[in-house]
């Protein structure tokens, strides 16, 4: 019986259905991607002579990384490093305060329409430009030094934390807010009793993460004169002191590792 059955049913092949069902669209995308890759890759100019020259420098660089020199420029490194740390602390603290205000204002479920629009716009503007561009403008306005750097970091902290806080508030469990509202609580009481407990752990985690980001950023904005370890780093590059460069980079990496370790411990205790 089974034999006759096998004869009568046609062979059914099975293939995994492709991600994009429409075959024409699928092939257009594949071919388009391939063409793009060819064009993009061919626009990269590679100067072989320069690469050979670079090989020699790479050797020096790697030698520097393998034997970092903390000693020769230690006083510069120390000053830059501490300045970066101070900038990070100040910018993160003020950034957090400002982002709480703006985050509350930019949460659709808490703020009135005009307040929402204003706060969202401020957050959008502070996120739009790269830190380096903001730093260039602030250095032009406030002069060289860590003050311009702190202002830059505050702006990008607010853009980052404010937006994420607002999004977090928009997804809280609303019934707790309603319950507190129905007891006759004021707006501020609603926020402190029903909103804060719900968003606090995540906001704390994000703030710690931002502390870490601010430290890393402080190493970058120094390139355009906004103070911190970045200034020291640029100087070392300009003098071709790659062993000092390596020392600074290693310290940054160590600092980031330490920050992540501390942050993960704090997070474990709070959650």
């Amino acid at each position: 019986m089974s034999a006759t059955n096998t004869q009568s049913t046609p062979v059914r092949t099975w293939r995994r259905p492709p991600l994009i069902a429409d075959a024409r669209l699928r092939w257009t995308l594949y071919i388009g991607a391939a063409i793009y890759l060819v064009i993009a890759l061919s626009s990269v100019e590679i100067n072989i002579v320069r690469l050979f020259e670079g090989a020699a420098r790479a050797k020096i660089l790697f030698a520097g990384v393998l034997s970092p020199d903390f000693v020769t420029r230690w006083s510069d490194i120390r000053v830059g490093f501490l300045e970066s740390l101070t900038m990070t602390v100040v910018a993160t603290a003020f950034g957090i305060l400002l982002s709480i205000v703006l985050g509350l204002g930019a949460a659709r479920n808490l703020a009135s329409r005009p307040v929402y629009v204003v706060c969202r716009s401020i957050l959008a503007v502070s996120r739009a430009f790269h830190e380096l561009i903001i730093a260039i403008l602030f250095v032009a306005m406030f002069g060289f030094g860590p003050f311009a750097g702190v202002m830059t970091l505050i702006v990008s902290t607010v853009g980052f934390l404010g937006k994420l806080l607002a999004e977090e508030i928009e997804t809280i469990e609303w019934n707790a807010v309603e319950a507190v509202t129905s007891t006759g609580a004021s707006w501020l009481q609603r926020v402190t009793y029903a909103v804060v407990p719900q968003v606090l752990p995540r906001f704390l985690g994000l703030s710690l993460y931002r502390l870490d980001i601010n430290f890393r950023e402080s190493a970058v904005i120094g390139i355009v004169g906004a103070g911190g370890i970045g200034a020291t780093l640029t100087t070392a590059f300009d003098r071709y002191e790659f062993d000092a460069v390596a020392a600074i980079l290693l310290m940054i990496i160590a600092m980031v590792l330490l920050a992540e370790y501390i942050a993960s411990n704090i997070r474990k205790r709070v959650l």
Partner: protein, 262 residues
């Protein structure tokens, strides 16, 4: 004590509540029954204006709640306690903090921020916790409790407001039958002790019949029944919920009651 006059609520062209008029007397327990989407939640939320009604009046002891300003409304909300289906506790706060949040309308912002409530409020909170059967659990986090326990916290919070009216939105819908009955009994006992009036939204018809003084049936935003629990027969249930075999539901609940008590 509570007069609801020609209350309506429209969402666009859809009428969630259509010309609802009813009044509730001092110390009266009223069950509001009706199928899902009938407008039960909308009705009780219009009373304390968690939902803004689009027409009609709600008058509580001579005060028209529908025309009040924001700040005056806050003041009046203290007189109206609310209990929710999904408990609506703040999960990361302790039981005590959740219960004390019932006093927020009486306490200034800074005091509430640092959790320094007047000692009398704290004493009352301890008393209520004992009364609802949560003695000693005041430091537990709300999310570490069972469903029945959470609803008891919700009840204590609402009562700490010293309300004159209780709005109860499906207090038992997320609970098992035995706990549901216990919670309904607790709510009705507490109302009787304090002479509180209450509107209780409830799915469960037998529960409504055994614990309330009057039953109001709502269907598609309109009142279709308003009378004593005994008057609720198959015919009425059919107008409220649609056609079904109601013989099980309308039987006396005495048997069930004994079973639970055992």
């Amino acid at each position: 004590m509570l007069e609801i006059q020609a209350l309506s609520k429209r969402y666009g062209s859809f009428a969630a509540l259509d010309d609802v008029t009813l009044s509730i007397g001092e110390g009266e327990l009223v069950a509001l029954i009706g199928p899902s989407g009938a407008g039960k939640s909308t009705l009780i939320r219009c009373v304390n204006r968690l939902v803004e009604p689009t027409g009609g009046n709600v008058v509580l002891k001579g005060t028209n709640l529908t025309t009040l300003s924001r700040s005056a409304l806050r003041f009046e909300r203290r007189r109206i306690g609310m209990i929710f289906q999904d408990y609506a506790l703040v999960n990361r706060l302790t039981v005590m903090e959740n219960v004390l949040s019932g006093r927020l309308g009486y306490v200034g912002f800074l005091r509430s921020l640092v959790r320094r409530f007047p000692q009398a409020d704290v004493d009352e909170a301890f008393r209520l916790l004992a009364r609802v059967g949560l003695e000693g659990l005041h430091d537990r986090r709300a999310d570490a409790l069972s469903g029945g326990q959470r609803q008891r916290v919700g009840i204590a919070r609402a009562l700490l407001q010293s309300p004159q009216l209780l709005l109860v939105d499906e207090p038992t819908a997320s609970l098992d039958p035995r706990t549901a009955r216990q919670i309904m009994r607790l709510v009705s006992e507490l109302c009787r002790e304090r002479g509180l009036a209450a509107i209780i939204n409830i799915h469960d018809v037998p529960l409504a019949r055994s614990f309330t003084d009057r039953i109001i049936g709502l269907a598609a935003g309109k009142i279709v029944f308003n009378g004593a629990p005994d008057a609720l027969n198959d015919e009425v249930l059919t107008t409220i919920y649609g056609d079904e075999d109601w013989s099980q539901t309308t039987q006396s609940d005495a048997a069930e009651e004994e079973e639970v008590a055992a």
